[in-house]
């Protein structure tokens, strides 16, 4: 069954002098366990599309359904709870709460979800180890490198077992070594935890790893290619 169903959504910004049609009629469906890249030049509408999927922005027209529920109908406070329980976010940068340690950042969302304490601690350690940061649990964000920070962000997004993770150019500020590391971890977690990953990028290495590549230009889907599964994991 499909996790996300996007029906003919558009987004027009009218605050500018000439109205900008950032997203101009897109239909997409995402299934559970996908590892999909949205690519396109800057200004093509990638971020706006991701924001609408995540409920950060409301579409001008059309609808985004998650598990059959139209999220644009939710109140803003319901929407925050919806995100808390269903979506993990990874941004380009400044993902972490600066005053909390890596461990506390990961625990943060679980605390908001009222997890049991011991379970939460276990999960945090597991997930931080799986992103290769088992030895940095008590570091504050400013003591971590950019790649490490992004890995903590992924760990945090994953920790609470969301339906899917949205990542807006997660590798944009990283060097190639960190990029590879982060991608490997994302791929591994996608397989192990069966969590849907949708990310925007214009980094070819990221595109190469993706199993589905959606090209966008001028707010429209130009191509939508599902790669053949090479090494059959599922």
């Amino acid at each position: 069954m499909s996790v996300i169903k996007i029906k003919n959504i558009t987004k027009t910004f009218t605050e500018t002098e000439v109205p900008v049609h950032a997203v101009n009629g897109i239909d997409l469906t995402f299934e559970k366990g996908e590892f999909a890249a949205i690519v396109g030049p800057s200004g093509s509408g990638k971020t706006t599309l991701l924001n609408m999927i995540g409920g950060l922005e409301k579409p001008t027209s059309g609808s985004v359904e998650v598990h059959g529920k139209d999220i644009s109908e939710l109140s803003s406070s319901k929407l925050i709870d919806f995100r808390l329980h269903n979506i993990g976010f990874v941004f380009q940068a400044y993902n972490l709460i600066p005053v909390l340690t890596a461990k506390e950042n990961v625990e943060f969302i679980m605390q908001l979800q009222n997890w049991d304490k011991t379970k939460m601690k276990e999960r945090t350690i597991t997930i931080l180890e799986s992103v290769g940061l088992g030895n940095r649990v008590n570091s504050k964000p400013n003591q971590l490198s950019g790649g490490q920070q992004q890995r903590v962000a992924v760990a945090r997004a994953l920790a609470s077992k969301p339906q899917f993770i949205l990542a807006d150019e997660p590798t944009a500020n990283l060097d190639s070594k960190s990029t590879t590391q982060l991608l490997d971890i994302m791929e591994k977690l996608n397989k192990e935890e069966k969590i849907t990953f949708i990310f925007s990028t214009h980094d070819q290495r990221v595109v190469d790893k993706a199993r589905r590549v959606i090209k966008i230009d001028d707010g429209k889907v130009v191509s939508d290619v599902v790669k053949k599964v090479e090494s059959g994991s599922f």
């Binding site: 950060l56 925050i80 976010f89």
Partner: protein
């Protein structure tokens, strides 16, 4: 909740310098406000105490109308049993009879209008401590025919102990009052105005001089506790014939003093208000900066699922911590100074002494350690920071997450 606390606490230390400067500014304002209030309240308490203990007492009973028209015909008498009964009230320490009027005092070439205080020597001393003001000679006995003269007055009249002083006045119902009195002692009274124009006679002698028989102008009540005044006053009013007598609390008798205190106090309050207004802007500036530089962070936290009200709670705690730290440090730095001045009140010297004497003030500036001073000042600062909280709260409520993430 714990996490919110933790985030808030750590956030205020993210920019240590700014936090310390903000705390320092609160501390500084509180320090000045507390010290200033301490001196003010201390002086007022001293003034009230002086006024009560040196003269008016806590309550007085007079013949009805005496207070507005202090004249020798407005006198009354209570029998001994009645006084003893009133005195048996545990809240009342002592009841002091007085017969007061004016006379012209002269000696040699000098003449001056003086206040004649007819007192019951031992009882009067218990409250007003007249005996301690004795500078020369001896204190009065109950049946003395002698007189005590205030120091400045004695100087003016050029008399000394064992000299004779002539008093002229008109007595009860216009009877002529004239007499020669042997000066038994010279008193240095603490209130300058009294020190310039007061003589003391024993009450029986004064009654004799003014031909009043066994009557007095006032019964002054000495009490232990200022807070009991109201209740005793009310009970007296019920038990006494109000057509014949008037019962007055110290507040009525010292109305001018209280009003003067009030006007002086208003001045002090205005000063502190201005100071706090400035500090409020400082706090607000800090809050403004703390909010604006964190818009991106706020947006991120909301987009990953933190409810706005929890975020608001974080901000409120931050401000609260900041304020409390400022308040506590302000109190801590002002305490030693206050304690010092409480035990070593400032004594004025030089010109100031004369000026203060002109206003009937003792030339000292006592300090009050009343805990209410701290509480009030702390509450005011906390209210100010509550007001400045509206900015981040509004900012969070109106936050556009998408724009915030881009900033």
């Amino acid at each position: 909740m714990k996490t919110i606390f933790k985030i808030a606490w750590r956030n205020i230390w993210r920019n240590k310098r700014r936090t310390l400067i903000t705390i320092a500014s609160i501390m500084f304002a509180l320090f000045f406000a507390i010290i200033m209030r301490g001196f003010q309240v201390g002086s007022y308490d001293k003034m009230k105490e002086n006024a009560i203990e040196s003269y008016s007492g806590y309550i007085q009973i007079h013949k009805n109308g005496y207070w507005d028209d202090k004249n020798i015909n407005n006198i009354f008498s209570f029998d001994k049993e009645k006084i003893t009964k009133l005195e048996s009230d545990p809240r009342v320490k002592n009841i002091i009879p007085r017969l007061e009027s004016f006379a012209l005092a002269s000696s040699g070439d000098a003449t001056k209008g003086v206040a004649v205080m007819g007192i019951s020597p031992e009882k009067e001393d218990e409250m007003t401590k007249v005996k301690t003001f004795l500078k020369q000679g001896e204190y009065l006995n109950i049946d003395d025919r002698s007189i005590l003269v205030a120091e400045e007055l004695a100087k003016f009249l050029k008399i000394n102990i064992n000299d004779t002083l002539v008093l002229f006045s008109s007595g009860y119902h216009g009877a002529t009052a004239a007499g020669l009195f042997h000066v038994k002692g010279i008193l240095k009274l603490p209130i300058p105005e009294m020190n310039r124009r007061t003589v003391y006679l024993s009450i029986s002698e004064a009654q004799n001089f003014f031909s009043t028989d066994n009557q007095f102008t006032a019964l002054a009540f000495e009490m232990d506790n200022l807070d009991d005044v109201k209740s005793v006053e009310q009970e007296l009013n019920l038990s006494i014939d109000q057509d014949k007598y008037e019962v007055m609390g110290w507040e009525v008798m010292n109305k001018e003093l209280l009003q003067m205190i009030e006007s002086d106090n208003a001045g002090g309050v205005i000063m502190i208000a201005i100071l706090y207004m400035v500090i409020a802007f400082g706090i607000f500036g800090t809050v403004l900066m703390m909010t604006n530089e964190r818009i991106r962070e706020f947006s991120m936290m909301i987009s990953i699922g933190m409810q706005k009200r929890k975020l608001i709670l974080v901000v409120i705690f931050e401000l609260f911590f900041l304020t409390i730290l400022g308040v506590i440090s302000g109190i801590i730095i002002s305490l030693p100074l206050m304690i010092y001045f409480f035990y070593h009140p400032i004594r004025f010297t030089g010109d100031v002494v004369e000026a203060m004497k002109d206003f009937n003030f003792e030339p000292i500036m006592p300090m009050s350690l009343d805990y209410q001073i701290f509480i009030y000042q702390a509450i005011i600062i906390i209210i100010i920071s509550l007001f400045s909280m509206y900015y981040p709260i509004l900012k969070i409520l109106k936050l556009n997450i998408v724009k915030g993430l881009k900033s």
